[in-house]
């Protein structure tokens, strides 16, 4: 099949309060790589109410072209209206590849776009590459309850589309000297085109230290038997400037809120260093952790967590953490300053 007239790696940008979200920067980083490899352009579609001011930042992040779609009706994400405006544009443009964030809005928009463009869409992608000979994009995602990774391709249809999980790919450096072209597109929308009307926003409680942003995560499981021992995790996390995470049973007991749960039904995290204290390492937990270095402490030498850990410490989680904290503290004193965590 000849798809040579399908050109351009497109990113659908997302904004919050007029500012581009991190996921959009992450997507531009990936679009840039794909565009360079396939010798195509990286193109960003920026839709929103008052967003034109962000166009320059998008080119600095790596976009060759930015198309702005501003409308007072874009005060909230509306699937029907976004599909109409962006879908029509993408239809005309014959996009090769479209990247959308796997956010609440993106997970709704991408399938709506795919229905309009009659193309495939892979959900929740965590790895992305292109075949060197064909340029076919390989979208990889956890599947079957996160038990396996599936590599998904769309050889017979264009565009190729995927939603990409936030926080998985690095944010590219901004380069203010990069040149890009910015186009303001007319938006023909009336209130009748809107599927929904925004009545009000209920602010969420913003987390003080979100787990997915922590470079060091100190996590505990059911091996920790008392709340006193649990406090030890907080002491260690404070010492290392990290965050505390937990397995599902811990959250179900109410020791930690659900926002601290890691795994299939919790958060997906990719810290530099992951400490697992008294965690058995069930697949549903471990599938949520992509750490550079994993240290596991468990008294059972057969614990499955040791299959994935880089450092498998067979020890009691009653005894080990206090001694470990002591050792880190004394190291800190010896260096007279803070322990500098090189992985940070």
């Amino acid at each position: 099949m000849d798809f040579s007239d399908y050109q351009g790696i497109y990113v659908v940008a997302e904004t919050r309060n007029g500012k581009v979200c991190d996921i959009t920067a992450e997507l531009i980083g990936q679009a840039r790589c794909l565009a360079d490899q396939k010798k195509q352009k990286a193109i960003v579609l920026l839709a929103g109410r008052n967003v034109a001011g962000e166009a320059e930042r998008l080119t600095a992040l790596g976009a060759d072209e930015v198309y702005i779609f501003e409308s007072p009706l874009f005060d909230h994400y509306d699937g029907q209206a976004y599909e109409r405006v962006l879908g029509s544009f993408l239809c005309e443009r014959k996009a090769d590849t479209i990247l959308v964030g796997a956010t609440a809005a993106g997970r709704d928009l991408a399938p709506r776009l795919s229905a309009k463009l009659v193309c495939g869409v892979t959900a929740d992608v965590t790895e992305l590459s292109a075949e060197s000979d064909t340029g076919l994009v390989i979208w990889s995602r956890p599947a079957m309850g996160d038990h396996i990774m599936a590599d998904i391709v769309s050889p017979r249809f264009r565009p190729q589309m995927g939603t990409v999980r936030p926080g998985v790919f690095p944010m590219p450096e901004e380069d203010r000297n990069r040149q890009g072209r910015v186009f303001r597109m007319p938006v023909h929308l009336t209130a009748a085109d809107m599927g929904t009307v925004l009545k009000r926003i209920i602010p969420g409680e913003k987390e003080s230290d979100p787990l997915e942003e922590a470079r060091i995560v100190v996590a505990g499981g059911r091996g920790i038997r008392s709340r006193d021992e649990w406090q030890g995790l907080y002491r260690l996390a404070a010492l290392l400037h990290g965050s505390v995470g937990a397995t599902r049973p811990i959250c179900e007991m109410g020791w930690e809120p659900h926002s601290r749960q890691i795994g299939q039904t919790g958060k997906l995290i990719a810290p530099a260093v992951y400490f697992a204290f008294g965690i058995s390492g069930a697949m549903q937990h471990i599938c949520g952790v992509q750490a550079d270095i994993m240290i596991a402490v468990n008294q059972d030498p057969q614990a499955p967590i040791f299959q994935t850990a880089d450092y498998a410490v067979v020890a009691d989680v009653k005894e080990f953490p206090p001694l470990f904290i002591e050792a880190v503290e004394s190291l800190k004193k010896r260096h007279a300053s803070q322990v500098s965590v090189c992985r940070l």
């Binding site: 038990h147 396996i148 410490v313 080990f320």
Partner: protein
């Protein structure tokens, strides 16, 4: 009012196990069940029917044995059930599935509200709802956490990344249902009795006048190129098992300094 609920039979992925040495998926303990999210979709349709009057139609696309989930829906209170089944539908991805469901909706129209689960536990794409809405040319709201119907206006809450949004929308409308929206009911005695007396009505590709190029494998843009175990490769293989915990601490500290963690 006429309510439609799309439900799916799935393998119970929570009962799957992966052999850690081979990375092979063992499905022997995983039964086929109704997608858990879809119970919440059913419940919402029942609740609105009980409040506003009307009927709840339930449909699924799947192999003949998927009738089981439709009969389960009857035991919970479904009025009409449709099994969309044909060899030609086999191998459908979300786009081909949504197309097939959209053709069925066109045959059974009109509906005031359509409900889907937020996602399915075996594919977790959350795509079929929005795709179906797009094909039908109606609005949709994904992952609804609160819903109230006044006349033909729905007030809906959905969770965005940080905040929740309260929206209104006019019917017809498609909603995908988050588990926190409600507590699904249990089968009733009458429902369980009814379950044994009814059969699902069958819809085939011919019944739906489906375009052969849009269904089954033919109509599915996405293909699985390969699957592989999810477990990341082991990076370092240091087992620390000193008799004294203090010694283990010391060995780990040295190792972490060597690895430049500290």
């Amino acid at each position: 009012m006429r309510f439609l609920v799309c439900i799916k039979q799935v393998v119970d992925t929570s009962k799957m196990e992966v052999d850690p040495s081979t990375g092979r998926l063992n499905r022997s303990k995983a039964n086929s069940i109704m997608n858990p999210y879809d119970r919440h979709a059913l419940e919402e349709a029942f609740r609105l029917r009980d409040q506003n009057g009307g009927t709840v139609t339930v449909m699924t696309m799947g192999p003949p044995q998927a009738e089981a989930v439709l009969l389960e829906a009857v035991s919970m209170g479904a009025d009409d059930i449709y099994l969309i089944t044909d060899r030609a539908f086999g191998g459908a991805d979300t786009l081909a599935t949504s197309y097939t469901l959209a053709q069925a909706v066109r045959k059974l129209e009109p509906f005031d509200m359509i409900f889907c689960g937020q996602e399915s536990i075996d594919s977790n794409t959350a795509q079929v709802g929005p795709q179906l809405a797009s094909m039908l040319g109606i609005p949709d709201v994904s992952a609804v956490t609160a819903l109230a119907l006044t006349g033909r206006t729905a007030e809906i809450t959905r969770q965005m990344e940080e905040e929740s949004e309260v929206l209104t929308a006019e019917l017809p409308l498609l909603a995908t249902v988050a588990p926190s929206l409600n507590h699904p009911r249990y089968p009733s005695i009458q429902g369980l009795q009814k379950k044994w007396t009814v059969k699902a009505q069958i819809l085939t590709a011919a019944d739906l006048q489906a375009d052969p190029g849009r269904i089954g494998i033919q109509g599915s843009p996405t293909q699985v190129k390969r699957v592989r175990p999810v477990a990341p490769p082991k990076k370092e293989n240091l087992v620390i098992q000193e008799t004294k915990t203090a010694d283990s601490v010391r060995v780990l500290m040295q190792a972490l300094q060597k690895a430049q963690v500290f």
